[in-house]
Symmetry: C3
Subunit: 278 residues, 3 copies
């Protein structure tokens, strides 16, 4: 069995290193939730920078400790920017996080996501339907067509995406985080289930995007698996705490950022999770 105490220690180290070093994790992300992504990255102790132009993507990749690519709202220039940036990250061996938002909608999105297979994202974060569809697009076990992605929402449960998540992690050599009522994080050999969060996280736009951005912050300071687990844990902790203080989504979002900021390293490590070997 993987050693849970050892994982907790690594979570604590990741959180503390981020709070001490204020690492930069650049992003190319959608316009809907870009502000929320940046504010959550800052709340956990990271630094944010967002770009659209091809050479700026390369520069952000070079200068940041990790990079977050979210395909939520594509612009035409992304046809150049995203493959160039992902290739740079891959060639430099730098960690990057992919959020395959709304996979299946539009030809550019499909082209870009297909190309990313070659550049092996360190962490893939998505809802169950997106994870299943990405494994399908990449021809991996557990994958299927994109028919179950409904806009940005999932119609599948986390466990339905387990096989796809494991095969994606095995293929990339990194980690996969599947968001749902209980979250699943895997490096292809271990699966961690992380508990907590809030039903309000589906009532504010961008909880998933923000998680991707925060995982990128932790990926500057830890392995892909620990980064994905740490980001998932702090979101579950902050979500539970924010829900306890609010009764509606506007206040919840404000409190959620507050709780991300306040969460201490040991509290994040102590947020409930189970691990199983595959």
């Amino acid at each position: 069995m993987p050693d849970k105490e050892n994982l907790k220690k690594q979570i604590i180290q990741a959180v503390e290193k981020v709070k001490e070093t204020n690492p930069m994790a650049g992003s190319i992300t959608n316009t809907v939730t870009i502000n929320f992504v940046a504010n959550t990255q800052l709340a956990v102790g990271g630094s944010a920078a967002m770009v659209y132009m091809p050479d700026e993507g390369e520069l952000i990749a070079k200068s940041g400790g990790a990079t977050y690519i979210n395909v939520g709202t594509l612009f035409p220039i992304y046809e150049q920017t995203l493959p160039l940036t992902a290739k740079s990250l891959h060639d430099m061996g730098k960690p990057w996080v992919l959020d395959p938002v709304a996979i299946g909608i539009g030809s550019l999105r499909t082209d870009l996501l297909r190309k990313f297979k070659e550049f092996k994202p360190s962490v893939i974060r998505g809802n169950p339907s997106e994870i299943i569809a990405l494994a399908g697009l990449w021809g991996l076990d557990g994958g299927a067509g994109e028919s179950r992605v409904r806009g940005v929402d999932s119609t599948d449960s986390v466990n339905a995406a387990k096989a796809a998540a494991v095969s994606l992690a095995k293929y990339t050599g990194g980690a996969v985080a599947v968001s749902g009522e209980t979250d699943l994080v895997t490096d292809g050999s271990i699966i961690a289930y992380s508990y907590g969060g809030s039903h309000f996280m589906e009532k504010i736009t961008g909880a998933g995007c923000a998680l991707g951005g925060v995982i990128a912050v932790y990926a500057t300071a830890a392995s892909p698996f620990i980064a994905a687990l740490t980001g998932t844990a702090v979101f579950n902790l902050a979500g539970s705490r924010a829900e306890a203080k609010t009764d509606a989504p506007g206040s919840f979002q404000t409190q959620f950022i507050d709780e991300l900021y306040k969460a201490a390293a040991d509290e994040i490590a102590d947020n409930q999770f189970d691990i199983i070997e595959i």
Copy 2:
């Protein structure tokens, strides 16, 4: 006289259907308020998805129950995306909401808004100056030039836009919602005046855009007139309630989203409105 009790019943049905079915209303909207639009759509029970690319506009039109098009901040690609999306919506007979923000600023905006005449938006939402200018651009009664639009603000009163609103609704066969201190909603044969709201709604950016997005959510579940009236009513109710709890615009915006979320179907139907036959 139109039956007010019957309208209230339809409002209740629209609100409840949205809360039960979580319908998707996609948007092509401006970058300034895109997050607020999505969060208000989610708060009332809808689901949001935003895109920019031409084929994605078509897909969102196809997969959503209704679509929201807001021309606030145009990108070059909109020259392709918006006519294609509006045409798809029209050809499929699907409801769509147009917000002619800042009509008169720039040649692309004028071209797009002129083309939309052919694709007959189900609901047009704007401030009085925008409604008058759109009727003017489309050569309809009550319309006039664009000189009174000042950026995104109106220099006309709601009643000054009554004739333009009625002629636009008659032309499209849908509804028009004019936002002001008292709001006017018409289907071309009935005019409803909806009361409430808050002076803080002019102190936060995007109250109008968000109303357009929320009307699109209700348009998945009701006629254009009922959707426009329901959206206007819930905004007036939530605005009044949020103002009662706050004394400045930052807190107001948070509370406003909370109150959108909390507003019950019968409370929305009971928000004060008057109806007159034309």
Copy 3:
């Protein structure tokens, strides 16, 4: 010595004129913080309008009392829009505020910032590293290379940027505002140090962008130096007050907008500042 009481009177006049006339200050600004910029402009009494297209930039320049240009997230169309807009502003003698965010990242950004030298922005607002790098790019005293700009963050202190700020202000004939723990505002002959603010302003994205937007609002009603000093003062006042009421960045941001809205003209003028002659 410059007369401090006279400066206070001019600050009061600027604040009151804005609250009375609701002046329009258009912006071309980044997608990360565009909503926050608009909401802070509205909170202090201004009106906002944001665009991307070339002819719209010209129109906003013409119709607004001042314009804000922030190069945070560049789109390809900016290659046309920004020089055209800046040239219009310069040719009309209208005030405009430049925020050279992330100077040194990417070729388009460098090209645009180099061109802006000719169009002499009325106010330049940046962090110390950006101010030093802009003076360097324009070949002015106190300038240096861009190596110290880290994404959107500064690695230099405000005083390290004093010579660059002074030479930029002398060159443009306008003012420069350098943001740091203590803020420095200069017109090339006087330096004002403005005190207050909050450490949380670095924990929310866009405090600097929003300050640029608010300075543009005041530039519709006052000289560049008074506009820069007034904007800086109201941000320091609102930041201190918001920090006193909150313990985390989510709540802080909400309170900060509230305090911007509540700040009275005499309170803003009374916010602590020192002046020295150069």
